[in-house]
């Protein structure tokens, strides 16, 4: 539908200071649209977790956020090692983050579970050695 709003973001590799730019921008836009505050909260938390994952576990990537009249669709595509065991990765507290990442306060193993919790639908498709694609939808 041409009425939909589409925003594209690039997540750069190994740059923690910039991770969160996409979610901050989306949050601002959703507030300007008058999206209910609970939805704004869920979208920005899910997207921020996703952005961090793209920096921590992959080598950056692209985010596309589409806003339609009834939902918000977030597509996160990274170039990276992929997730060997998605089921395990979805468990709370499970993390493969390195010590240096943990030292920064990340890698608590809550990323994917939080993303799932905050979205109404989440699909993960991952290819080892190529990258991961996550689609999240939050209904309005």
């Amino acid at each position: 539908m041409e009425d939909n709003l589409v925003f594209e973001y690039v997540v750069s590799r190994e740059d923690f200071t910039r991770a969160g730019e996409a979610s901050a921008d989306v949050k601002k836009k959703l507030k300007a649209l008058g999206v209910p505050s609970g939805v704004v909260r869920r979208v920005s938390i899910a997207l921020y977790e996703g952005e961090i994952n793209m920096v921590v576990h992959a080598y950056g990537g692209n985010i596309t956020v589409e806003i339609t009249s009834d939902k918000i669709i977030m597509l996160l595509k990274d170039k990276g090692p992929g997730i060997p065991d998605v089921e395990k990765a979805m468990q709370e507290g499970f993390s493969t983050a390195s010590d240096s990442v943990r030292a920064l306060g990340f890698g608590a193993g809550m990323g994917l579970p939080n993303m799932k919790k905050c979205s109404d639908r989440m699909d993960i498709s991952t290819t080892i050695g190529v990258g991961t694609e996550i689609k999240m939808e939050v209904d309005l």
Partner: protein
């Protein structure tokens, strides 16, 4: 939406030169320059005073009461903020300030810091009883409440619903005055010596309470020169001991002071409006956990950094540290029978002032237009159009408050095209018969276009690019 709020921050139109300093520094993007003068959008303004700080022409001012309110009533009470004590050199006893205020003409003086000690106590209790609302956000800085009310609806539940010290001080002082004098309320005047415009706005349009008991606000910078001679007159050997505050109360004058008063270490204290916004964004994104309390002060350094103070905020804070060194921890304590009266009596509701349209559909259409427009603008954020950024000009255009022609790059493009066209037309005319007539016409057109060009750019900028098209 009709704006029902009183704002202290205002503009002196005569002094405004229409420069872009204020629009670039406003944390809520509330200011635009239109027709050569700044104008403040009162729906967005949170009275932080950043524009007052930055304006090189002193065109941004704060509205507050003149000093003659001292004698307006039969019995006049003055409320002193701890930030006031940080303004003076070598002050070693708060009593000197308090006694000088009596010599200046006030009938009674009451320290806001005394009420602050009560708020510290009740905050400790509130934190213990409301774990689910933690981290609680301090509500002593009215600008912070206004910011959260318009930008962070998810965080309204974290606001500490306790009256600010200045209000509790007014109530306590009033009760004391009525008991002492037997006068009716209207014959008693309550004046607060304010460090900032935000508190003035609070007094006129409070949030969290229906009405403030405070009648007037005078600026620290106005009372400071008047007070100095009286402070010299105070005889420290025979002056009255009026101080009812300890270290906790005095500490409230600077950033981190309120948080120290909760006697816990799981807190965060931020000062400066932009830093506060960052903290609130992080709290909203649930990046902050395991904290009980968040102290936020809009001004750098806390209340000592208010725009109506005279001293450098960091020097003032150093002076407060020295002043309170030998004071007791706290002097004024919570009277539990009055606990119920210290809570807010009104909810603070979300005001979605930044919303683009009346409904989602309208907002989406507007945002799509903004995105499209933004791509056509130069992206330099030069501010010459009167909006802080190209993005905000695009937003203003879509809201119907500005035009694309306000962008000088866009205008320049248009004028250049115009000159080119005129040159082509005039060259065509040269091929005609009556050469003299055509030359005169060409001359006229070139002059006219140059005039239009100069009008757009002003005479101070003699722009000669038109000549490039002559040959």
């Amino acid at each position: 939406m009709i704006d029902k709020f009183f704002h202290s921050v205002s503009l002196d139109v005569d002094l405004c030169k229409g420069c872009i300093n204020c629009i670039k520094h406003c944390p809520t993007d509330a200011i635009r320059v239109r027709e050569g003068k700044a104008s403040i959008n009162s729906k967005f303004c949170i009275d932080c005073g950043e524009c007052i700080r930055i304006c090189p022409h002193h065109a941004k001012t704060a509205r507050y009461d003149r000093i003659d309110v001292i004698n307006k009533h039969k019995y006049n009470i003055v409320l002193t903020p701890p930030s006031l004590y940080g303004q003076f050199n070598n002050l070693d006893d708060v009593n000197i300030v308090l006694n000088a205020l009596l010599l200046l003409g006030f009938d009674e003086v009451f320290e806001v810091s005394a009420a602050a000690e009560i708020v510290s106590e009740i905050t400790r209790k509130y934190i213990a009883q409301h774990k689910e609302d933690c981290p609680l956000i301090s509500t002593a800085c009215p600008t912070i409440i206004r910011l959260i009310r318009t930008r962070f609806p998810n965080l309204l539940c974290h606001l500490l619903p306790i009256k600010p010290p200045v209000e509790i001080a007014a109530e306590m002082a009033l009760e004391r005055a009525i008991q002492k004098t037997g006068l009716p309320r209207e014959e008693i005047g309550i004046t607060f010596i304010t460090p900032c415009p935000s508190k003035v706005a609070y007094i006129k349009s409070p949030l969290g309470i229906k009405k403030s008991e405070i009648d007037y606000a005078v600026a620290i910078k106005d009372i400071y020169p008047l007070l100095l001679p009286f402070m010299k007159e105070v005889d420290s050997a025979s002056m009255n001991d009026l101080v009812e505050t300890g270290r906790i109360g005095i500490g409230w004058g600077e950033s981190g002071g309120e948080a120290l008063g909760i006697l816990r270490d799981d807190y965060l204290a931020a000062d400066g409006i932009h830093n506060c916004i960052r903290v609130l964004e992080d709290l909203e994104d649930e990046k902050i956990s395991d904290l009980s309390f968040i102290e936020l002060n809009s001004c750098d350094g806390g209340c000592v950094g208010g725009t109506l103070t005279v001293e450098n905020p960091y020097l003032a804070a150093a002076k407060l540290k020295k002043l309170r060194k030998y004071m007791p921890i706290a002097v004024t304590h919570l009277d539990e029978s009055l606990e119920g009266e210290l809570a807010w009596d009104e909810n603070v509701e979300y005001e979605p002032v930044f919303k683009l349209g009346e409904n989602m559909k309208e907002s989406m259409l507007k945002m799509a237009r903004i995105e499209k427009l933004e791509k056509k603008l130069p992206g330099l954020d030069c501010g010459s159009c009167g909006a802080p950024t190209c993005r905000l000009l695009a937003e203003d255009i879509v809201r119907g408050e500005a035009s694309k022609k306000d962008c000088i790059y866009y205008l320049k493009e248009g004028v250049q095209k115009y000159i080119e066209e005129i040159n082509i037309v005039s060259k065509g005319m040269l091929l005609g018969n009556n050469e003299k007539q055509v030359a005169a016409l060409q001359q006229y057109i070139v002059e006219a276009s140059q005039k239009i060009f100069n009008e757009h750019y002003g005479d101070q900028m003699e722009y000669s690019e038109g000549e490039d098209y002559d040959d």
